[in-house]
């Protein structure tokens, strides 16, 4: 109510010490501003920058995709980023406290943030466990995914491996041991459990004292990926076929901009890439030049995406080139053997001329060889994103590079540090609200509580260590990490713009008090009109598209030719879970509002029934 707002302003006029009285004690004590910036950057820059953005660039017309991407950054990403940092700093609380302060009816926004952070943290660390598994296996010579495992005596290799490829086999069978469909749960894979345990232990070491240890860990986790990307960049540019890949990636196809799907995906990519609406940024923020921070973090995040796509595509170009040459060499070998010509008479350069000559002289014999059509473009078009890119495509490329073990180790450490720094934000997005809600008993030291949190997470993530774990991870990824975040962000921006008030006297005042200047017209216009509108359109479009699609998932089926998957529909109970995952965090918002409203009505009714002259309304407590 208004009384509360007045109270805040009265306090503004006195200098506040760093220990703000309203806060619950978990306020970041960064050693210096660099730590804080590195942590924010680490949180924003994650696996998606490396394995989602290059894929989007590839399927949406190369360089042309940068246009909707940068537009979305400027009009949606940066304003939301600035907003979250400002809110966190101004109200100096975690996400629940913040929204409770703005309006008690909006406490649900913070709760939704916390629930989403928790669910995302569960599956995100499973990906890190898979990364660790590959990392452990990178110390072998030869790499285990180079060739099919062979039975000792007969010399024959496993049939499933022969049908697909060693890389596919290693991922689907030796790592995941995936079941044929989601109904078959399979058993708990012990090797994944110990990788999960390692991943959670590493997270615990960094998270053990909250911000203190996270800040120090951020020096490494935020900077190491850039070092590795640079090394890869230098190496990748010297590989044959790298330029083909880069040309393919960056050649703009302008007609693709007419497709509205491109704009939608650009907006959602910026949104998810910046890790908005998790509450992590709110928990991290400190007194600093906030608009500068927002611009720095946002631009570095996008720049990282673009920078990462260069070595990725150089390597993918190298792989496509390599596959193309292998295809041609196979054909050449068949021809050489069938026509008994001299070894190496047919080379890649004169293949075409020889083929036409042989075809004219003996077409039936050539036809009987069943030569494959080798087209470089087809190999370049084979796109992959997400786990497919990291664990199948990239691992295949790495085997072809000399010194495979080194590149493999570097690549997986980079992925691990990228994911680890994002995990910190997720965990803070759960810990700080718990402290706000005063659910943490003060007698327990923080180290024990964070250990307990990691243990709970670890046990819950056993779901993803089952045989059907990968299917469940896809579900969580698609349904938790999408619509709820958009809804939360929409409520965030409308709450601050219209409930708290971005008019000249309130939010801008706060920012002026915090940073010494008012936000200029650009930010105001965005917060009030452009960003909420964009978010609403994106949210509605996203929901409509999801609803129109049948709920299906793809299953690895080695009997089918590349891309070797079948598409199956989700069974009914799984569909129900998908819907639950999407709606439960969102439903918390109206539920909490309703609960508060009922509480408020009750109090009103009580006061009307028995008014007391001695009741001092000045002390009506904050709800």
């Amino acid at each position: 109510g208004k009384g509360w707002r007045g109270r805040v302003h009265a306090q503004d006029r006195t200098p506040v010490h760093s220990k703000a009285p309203q806060s619950t004690g978990e306020r970041p004590k960064w050693d210096n501003k660099i730590q804080y910036l590195l942590t924010c950057i680490g949180f924003a820059v994650g696996l998606g920058n490396v394995w989602r953005f290059p894929y989007l660039c590839q399927i949406y017309g190369g360089g042309a995709f940068l246009i909707p991407y940068l537009i979305a950054l400027v009009f949606e990403g940066l304003p939301l980023l600035y907003l979250e940092l400002a809110i966190g700093q101004r109200l100096r609380m975690g996400s629940i406290g913040v929204w409770n302060s703005i309006s008690p009816y909006l406490g649900g926004v913070g709760m939704a943030s916390m629930v989403v952070s928790f669910l995302v943290g569960m599956f995100y660390n499973t990906i890190l466990a898979w990364v660790l598994w590959y990392f452990f296996h990178s110390f072998q010579n030869p790499l285990p995914w180079r060739s099919c495992p062979v039975f000792n005596l007969t010399g024959k290799s496993v049939e499933e491996c022969e049908l697909s490829s060693p890389v596919n086999y290693f991922w689907y069978r030796e790592t995941l041991n995936i079941t044929p469909n989601i109904e078959t749960s399979g058993s708990l894979q012990w090797w994944l459990v110990i990788c999960l345990a390692t991943a959670w232990c590493i997270v615990y070491v960094c998270f053990i004292r909250g911000i203190e240890t996270i800040g120090k860990a951020a020096y490494i986790t935020a900077t190491f990926p850039y070092l590795v990307l640079t090394i890869f960049l230098v190496r990748a540019l010297t590989l044959p076929g790298a330029m083909t890949g880069l040309k393919y990636l960056f050649t703009p196809q302008w007609e693709i901009l007419k497709n509205p799907r491109v704009w939608l995906d650009a907006a959602t990519q910026i949104f998810f890439s910046l890790s908005l609406a998790f509450g992590g940024l709110i928990a991290f923020s400190i007194k600093n030049k906030l608009d500068q921070d927002a611009i720095i973090v946002g631009c570095i995040n996008s720049a990282t995406s673009i920078y990462a796509s260069i070595p990725i595509f150089a390597i993918l170009g190298f792989k496509a080139n390599s596959n193309y040459e292998d295809c041609l060499n196979n054909n050449i070998l068949s021809l050489t053997n069938a026509f008994n010509m001299g070894d190496q008479n047919i080379t890649i350069e004169n293949y075409e001329t020889w083929l036409t000559y042989l075809n004219t002289s003996d077409p039936t014999k050539v036809a009987n060889l069943h030569l494959k059509v080798c087209d470089l473009q087809t190999f370049l078009d084979q796109s992959a994103s997400g786990t497919g890119l990291a664990f199948i495509v990239f691992t295949e490329a790495v085997i072809k590079m000399p010194g495979s073990q080194v590149w493999s180790v570097l690549f997986f450490i980079m992925l691990f540090t990228l994911g680890l720094s994002s995990m910190f934000g997720n965990l803070e997005g759960v810990l700080t609200p718990l402290l706000d809600l005063k659910l943490v008993p003060t007698c327990i030291p923080k180290e024990i509580f964070t250990g307990f949190m990691c243990l709970v997470y670890f046990i819950f993530s056993f779901i993803f260590a089952l045989g059907s774990g990968n299917y469940w991870l896809e579900i969580f990824n698609s349904y938790v990490g999408s619509v709820p975040l958009l809804v939360i962000a929409f409520f965030e921006i409308t709450a601050v713009s219209y409930v708290y008030g971005i008019n000249r006297y309130v939010f801008s005042d706060d920012i002026e008090w915090m940073t010494g200047r008012r936000p200029n017209i650009f930010w105001q216009a965005n917060w009030r009109v452009i960003s909420p509108l964009m978010l609403l359109v994106v949210l509605l479009a996203y929901v409509v598209i999801q609803a129109m699609q049948e709920l299906t998932y793809s299953v690895s089926a080695p009997q089918v030719d590349f891309p070797m998957y079948e598409v199956l529909p989700y069974p009914g109970w799984v569909c129900a879970i998908c819907v639950l995952l999407s709606t439960v965090p969102c439903i918390l918002i109206p539920l909490v509002a309703l609960y508060r409203f009922v509480h408020f009505l009750k109090k009103r009714v009580e006061r009307l029934r028995a008014p007391s002259f001695y009741e001092n309304e000045g002390y009506v407590s904050d709800m």
Partner: protein
């Protein structure tokens, strides 16, 4: 006696080439060999000629001797259908009875046992010196007790475990130290006059002008 011998020699001399024609390629007991010298050696490739063929037959005779200790000779290995590829068929005859062929199974086993030696004689590998229908002999994989990935896992989890324990111990020590300090402060308090106002006890600070500064720090903590 002499004429008979002469006749016998003549007979085998005449029969020799025809023997080759009928016995080779006997697809049941014969094998096709394919060499890819340029692929294997690139610029160092040698030319395939009569001497190389002689070496091949000698090596194969060696392999057969190693297999069943019979006195095989170079002449027991018959070669035919040579092409430019370089590929040819061969069969092996029994040294005691030159019209009998050694069975395909025996030849296969002999080749598999000495495959490495045969490859090395020609500086080639299993892929570049192919015996069609004889699968390559794989080296026995090194049987390691623990898979290497478990070793790496052990190292990582050991380091992390040590880190966790170190951090827990250091924070425990820090807390002990803080407790010691606050206890010390309370003792200080008992000696001097302490203000035990709103439950917060700290020694009354008197500035140079005699003003009680005990309340200065409290203003932000009151909600007004």
């Amino acid at each position: 006696m002499f004429p008979r011998l002469h006749f016998a020699v003549c007979f085998t001399a005449v029969l020799g080439p025809t023997l080759v024609h009928t016995l080779c390629p006997d697809t049941a007991d014969g094998y096709k060999v394919r060499l890819s010298i340029k692929t294997a050696l690139g610029d160092d490739a040698y030319k395939w000629d009569e001497s190389e063929m002689f070496l091949f037959r000698a090596t194969l005779a060696f392999a057969m001797r190693k297999y069943n200790q019979k006195p095989y000779e170079v002449s027991d290995v018959l070669v035919c259908n040579e092409t430019q590829r370089v590929s040819f068929w061969f069969v092996v005859t029994d040294p005691e009875n030159t019209s009998e062929l050694i069975s395909g199974k025996d030849v296969e086993r002999a080749v598999r046992i000495s495959r490495n030696r045969i490859n090395n004689a020609f500086l080639l590998t299993d892929e570049t010196l192919e015996f069609l229908n004889i699968p390559p002999t794989l080296a026995v994989p090194a049987e390691s007790g623990t898979p290497p990935w478990l070793i790496v896992f052990g190292v990582v989890i050991g380091v992390v475990g040590v880190g966790i324990i170190a951090l827990l111990i250091s924070s425990f020590i820090q807390k002990r130290r803080k407790k010691g300090v606050t206890e010390g402060e309370e003792e200080d308090c008992e000696e001097e006059a302490c203000d035990k106002g709103n439950g917060v006890s700290h020694p009354v600070e008197e500035g140079a002008d005699g003003v009680n500064r005990g309340f200065v720090g409290d203003i932000p903590f009151t909600k007004l």
